[in-house]
Each structure stands twice: as structure tokens, then as C-alpha cells.
Amino acid sequence: MPTKPDTALSSPRQTEAVLDIRQLSVHFDLGGNLLGRLFGRGGGRVRAVDGVNLSLQRGEVVGLVGESGSGKSSLGRALLGLAPISEGSIWFRGQDLATLSGRRLRELRRHVQMVFQDPSAALNPAMTVEQAVTDPLRIHGVPAGERRPRVVEALERVGLSPVELFLSKYPSDLSGGQKQRVVIARAIIMDPAVLIADEPISMLDMSVRAKILTLMLDLKDQLDLTYVYITHDLASAKFFCNRIAIMYLGRIVEIGDTNEIFENPRHPYTRALLAAIPDPDPSRPKTADLLRGEIPDASRPPSGCSFHPRCPVAFDRCGWEPRDLVATLEGHWLRTSPSTYDLERSRIANLDDISADGGSETVLRPSTDASPTDLVALLSEVRREDQGARFWEGVDEISEEPEGVRVRFHSGEDPVLRRNGDVEVACLLY
């Protein structure tokens, strides 16, 4: 009996790449400005995007998913030249957008357009709908006589019809959904190949979110568009995207076909994100184990795997370092009374300095009214009390010395993206 060919194979579609991002980095220097110096962070560097590779196939929707500070928006902005590219290249139609400038760049850039999160901020309140949507045509030198019909066509495409009703309106006359339609009309009017949509529905009321997504899907088919969908909302990404890249501290930690990411998440961070999604169905089991902590400061990412301090399954090779000891002590003091905290804290002379330490070992020094033995006892107590903590996996040795307690950590490794089944994942478990 003949069967239908299996079209749902999750291998990458063998079509041409519309946009090919290679080893792209966006770094912001903190040293050069007054603020950085003021806070003593001179010379610091935020690696907002750190060596990302991503190839967009024609017609697909790729989701960039992560928390604030994951670098997803910086990556999106870099594709439009709105964020400084420190390294890497963005290949588009045989040219590298990262190295082009001036007129050549402007000509190519019209093919990559953006839809912003907040339509109220993206539209000039003093411009009518017609002026806003005409603007790109004016900038790219389309003759005045040809502009009107193209504006009308774009507005009709985004559903703002009858067009006469909207042309002379100002953003303040429009609802949130209508404003986002105007922003989309402005983005498609130059007939782009790629649309970067940065949280296009998160500011909208839930009753219209689905409508805007539907519109975007229709436009994709009609206009042969390729999308990059930037979001922290995994539920909409699941519906909207063909492929999903999970980002953490400037890097892609897992990337693959949407179904595979949702059905068989590999990276512990992806699993945590999936578990945290609140679901309106009351019959679904409630979120139980939650990830602790928050995404760390990108100017000083954790060593090894940058996710290791929050990871529920981290082990010895994940990159443990002195500041993890401080976090472990802080976690311990969350479970003690203020008086115990006062006593224990007063025994350590150099807690604040330790968090600034790098390297694979540190010395916890006793204050004048305590001894190294007291600190060894404190560490044993903390370890005994919090059996499940992953931190101790990474501690190779605790030794009492005249000056204090030396804690030596297992050497860490920085995981790189590796193929695992149908996805790529950056985690030492694989």
C-alpha cells in the first residue's frame, strides 16, 4: 500500500540561505564612558552577542527565544545595523552587511526590515498614517508620484481598509492592534526579503495578538518573506516558528526544529523555560520545580558554561568558581535566622572580595575573632544542610591553612554547540 512521503522530517530544509550569520558578536565597551568609570567598571565589556552562527532559510520563521539580557534583541538589531558589530559577518545576496557602509549598505538594508515591540514608540505621533508609511519610500528615493499607490497597497495588505479611513489618522487615533498594522505596513512597503519582529505582540491585548500573528503568517506567504521572531514567549514561538534558537547570555545554547525543541528539550535551560510557562488550562499540572536566580550580568559572564550557577543538573566540569561560593553562602543565609547570619557573616573577613575573584581557587579568610577551623566548620555545616546543591560537585578540595580555608574548584569547560539527534545543543551533558 503506498504511503504518503514523510514531509515532517526535521532535517534542515535544503533551500538557499537568505541570510547567513557567521560568528557574529556585538560587544559594548563600558570603559569608554563616564558612567562606567563612575561605577568602577572601567574597561569592562558586555558581550551582548557572542559568536552566533545562524543561517536563515528562505520562507522559514526562526524564533530567537530567551530572557531579557540573553542578547536576542541585540542580535536582531545587529542584522539591521542598529547595534555595533564587533566581529563576524552577515552574508546577504553575496555581500557582507557587517563590512558594507554608506550607499551600498543602505541599498541592501531595505531588504531587511524590522517590526518593533511597542507600536506607540515606533510611530512618530506627529505623522499621519500616510506619512509614516510613505517615509521609507521617500528615504529610498521613490518618485513622489509613485508613492501613493504603494502606500494604499501596503495598507490594504495589512488589513487597514477602507484605506481612506486611516490615511489621515494619527497614531493617537488608533488602537494598539491598528498601530502595529501600520508598523508592519511600513516594514513591508520596500518589499523586503527578511522581517525581524522583536516581540511584535507582547504589548498588545490578548484579544488581538492572534490576529497580528495571523496577519504576519498571511504576509509571509503572499510576499515570500523570511522571519526572525524575537520573543520571551515560548507559547507563541511554538505556534509561529519553524525553528527555534534558545539564547542565554549572548549565545545560542540550543537550536532545532520547533517540534523537537518542545517535545524533547535537551538543554537544562530550555527545559526550565518550558516548565515555567503558565498555562490557562486548570487541568494541567502546575509548575513545581523552578529555576533559581536570574540571568547574570553580561559584562562578567560566569566561567565555563554561563548557565551553571542556575543549572539544576550542573556537575564538576561546568565551570565552578569563587563567586559560586559566595552565592552558596548567601543561599545558606536565606535559610537561617538573622542572628545566625550576623554571627556567621562576622567570621568571614573577605566575603566581598571573593566575589570579584576569578580563577580556580580562593581563600576564605577568618576575621580577627574567628579561626580557619571555624570557617571549615561553617562550610561543612552549609554542605550538610543543603545536600542537593550542585555547587559541591565542583569543589575538589577544602583545606585548612594558617591564613584561612582554601577552596579549590574542578577545572571547567566552555560548552560549544554540538549536534545531538536533530538539534544542536551547547551543554557538557551531551
Binding site: 530572557e67 481598509s161 491585548d205 484579544s207 492572534a210 523555560l273 509548575t287 533559581r292
Partner: protein, 352 residues
């Protein structure tokens, strides 16, 4: 008339907050905006009520109205009993004393509510000293550290400044500040909207612990139905200034009886979403709302009676209440009233 709170596990105790027929309106040059129009609800100790609806439905105004925190020019009417005393009829001085110690509020944007020049310790000292001037500095510190501990903020951070905290930590800090006086009733207005999923989930966990540990009654205002399902016992669905359906979360989300609740659930994009649905049109202008049921112009099930007669509150199957002619009472529907309402199609021109 106060709706029954059947379906809630807290029927036994007396309500902390008991709202009857609350109305709040703002005067404008075009006429009065009826932001809250006849709302009645109750909360028992340890109970969390989710208040959901689209932007502009009046949910934030309702939350602020319960706190007595309305902007100048807002008028209100009805009864808001906090442990038997009517907040709306208190002097400004009495109401001020009540806020913080007995009722607290958590806002959406934590950074705008913290003073960047004050250490965390000073925020606590200020908050506590206003309401309990007799506490010593070390007693204040002990209380503050306890509140921070509950929020997962280690005592090492007590002397930090707000800018040294991440967004999620600031929101937890705000909750700690709201909690330090142990209020019996808290209004949280979109407390997680500005936060990421993981931090949002942490905050929801914290709010859940809160009611278990302190018997705090919580009104959680949100547009996120998923959060209501995770964190609330009961839910009230608000549309155009009125509560159209309320009851236990399991019952209301599991078997919605008001078409608005049903459509709102259908338009929510969740992990189980396989097709996109949305509600056509937009919520009405509250200066001149449509006659009859305010949802009838957008309602896929609207009947002729809905366009001309205000719906009557009835007891829902499964407990709680609903205001919709589809749920009856049938004897009040005029002859021919159940026929399908014919109307024009709703286009993008009317979209939200």
C-alpha cells in the same frame, strides 16, 4: 447584592474585603467615563482572586479604588468594607493609616517606586517607621531581613541600592516592602508583566507561599490567564467596567459560561494552541457604552434580548455568578428575545 462565593474553599471565614456595587467614574469634557460600574466581590483570608480583562476594562481602576488610591477628580460610590469598616467613608488620615499596615499594593514597574538614592535598608526603615514608630533599628532590621528572606533576597544585600538589583529582584523587593507590615489584603497590579517567564514563575511561587503562610488575601490583576490558573483560587472576568463572570478558576476556565470568558480563553496563545482565534472588534467606549449587554456587539452568540436589556446576574453551574442572557433567567427574556441577533460584520476599523 453580593454574589455568592460558592466554589471557593474559603466559605467558612468572614471576608477580609467585601465590595458591594462599587462605581468609579472620571469626568471628561466628553462626559463621564464609567470605569467601574457596579462591581461586587469578596475575598476571604488566604484567598487569591484573579481579576482579568482587556486593557481599559477598568481592572486597574478597580484595584486602586479598593486602596483608596484614585486620581483627583475620580468619583466613587458603593461600599468597600475592610473587616467591616467602609474604606470609602473613612477620613484621608484613617485611610492612610490603613494602607501599608492592613492593605498593601504591588505595582507593575518596581524601579519607578523605589528611591534610587536610598539603600534597601532605608526603604524598610522609612516604611516601617511611618506605621510603627516605636520599633528600634535592630527590630526593624530583623523584620526587614525576614521579609527579604521570604522573597529569596539574601541578607548580604540589605545595604545595597536599588540599581544594584536586577528587575526580578526589584519586584521581589517591592513585594517584601509591601509584606513587611503584614497586611491582611494586598492588591497586585500586573506584578509580573515586566518580567521574564522564569522570574515570573518565581514571583507566582512566592505569591502562592504568601497566602499559605500568612493568610493574606490577594487580588491579582493581570491580563495573563495562565498566571491566574497557576496562582488563583477564584477568578473574576471584567468587561467594560463590569464583572461578567466569577467563580473558581477550575470551573470558570474549565467550563466558561460567559461567551466573553470563553473567547478570551480561546484567543490566548498557549502551548496547546493549534489554531489562532481572536475576538473581533474592541471594548466599547466607556462614556457611551452599548445598551443591553456591553459585549453584545462582539459576541458570537448574541441574541435579540442582549441588544436591549441589561443581563441579570445568575448563579453559575459549578458555583460563582455570571451575567449573560444565555444563562438565563429565561422567564425574564421577552418573547422572540432568544432569536439570533443580526448585525454587520466587524472589520479592522473597530479592532482593539
Amino acid at each position: 447584592m453580593t454574589p455568592a462565593i460558592e466554589g471557593s474553599p474559603f466559605d467558612r471565614s468572614t471576608p477580609v474585603i467585601d465590595v458591594t456595587d462599587l462605581r468609579v467614574w472620571y469626568g471628561t469634557t466628553r462626559g463621564a467615563i464609567q470605569a467601574v460600574d457596579g462591581v461586587s466581590l469578596r475575598l476571604s483570608p488566604g484567598e487569591t482572586l484573579g481579576l482579568v480583562g482587556e486593557s481599559g476594562c477598568g481592572k486597574s481602576t478597580l484595584g486602586r479604588g479598593l486602596m483608596g488610591l484614585l486620581p483627583a477628580g475620580a468619583k466613587r460610590d458603593g461600599q468597600v468594607l475592610f473587616r467591616g469598616r467602609d474604606i470609602l467613608r473613612m477620613s484621608e488620615r484613617e485611610a492612610y493609616g490603613l494602607r501599608g499596615t492592613s492593605v498593601g499594593m504591588i505595582f507593575q514597574e518596581p524601579l519607578t517606586r523605589l528611591n534610587p538614592l536610598m539603600r534597601i535598608s532605608e526603604h524598610f526603615q522609612e516604611t516601617i517607621a511611618q506605621h510603627e514608630p516605636d520599633l528600634s533599628k535592630s527590630e526593624i532590621r530583623e523584620r526587614a531581613l525576614e521579609a527579604l528572606r521570604l522573597m529569596g533576597i539574601p541578607p548580604t544585600r540589605y545595604r545595597s541600592y536599588p540599581h544594584e538589583f536586577s528587575g526580578g529582584m526589584r519586584q521581589r523587593l517591592m513585594i517584601a516592602l509591601a509584606l513587611v507590615l503584614r497586611p491582611a489584603f494586598i492588591v497586585a497590579d500586573e506584578p509580573t508583566t515586566a518580567l521574564d517567564v522564569l522570574v515570573e514563575a518565581q514571583i507566582i511561587g512566592i505569591l502562592n507561599d504568601l497566602r499559605r503562610n500568612f493568610d493574606t488575601a490577594l487580588l491579582l490583576i493581570t491580563h495573563n490567564l495562565g498566571i491566574v490558573a497557576e496562582a488563583c483560587d477564584r477568578v473574576a472576568v471584567m468587561y467594560a467596567g463590569q464583572i461578567v463572570e466569577q467563580g473558581s478558576v477550575t470551573s470558570v476556565f474549565g467550563k466558561p459560561q460567559h461567551p466573553y470568558t470563553r473567547e478570551l480563553l480561546r484567543s490566548t496563545i498557549s502551548l496547546s494552541t493549534t489554531g489562532l482565534n481572536y475576538i473581533p472588534g474592541s471594548p466599547p467606549d466607556l462614556i457611551d457604552p452599548p445598551p443591553g449587554c456591553r459585549f453584545h456587539p462582539r459576541c458570537p452568540d448574541a441574541m435579540r434580548v442582549c441588544a436591549g436589556h441589561d443581563p441579570v446576574q445568575t448563579v453559575r453551574q459549578g458555583g460563582g455568578s455570571v451575567e449573560c442572557w444565555l444563562s438565563g433567567p429565561d422567564e425574564l427574556i421577552p418573547p422572540g428575545g432568544t432569536e439570533r441577533l443580526e448585525r454587520e460584520e466587524i472589520g479592522v476599523a473597530d479592532e482593539a
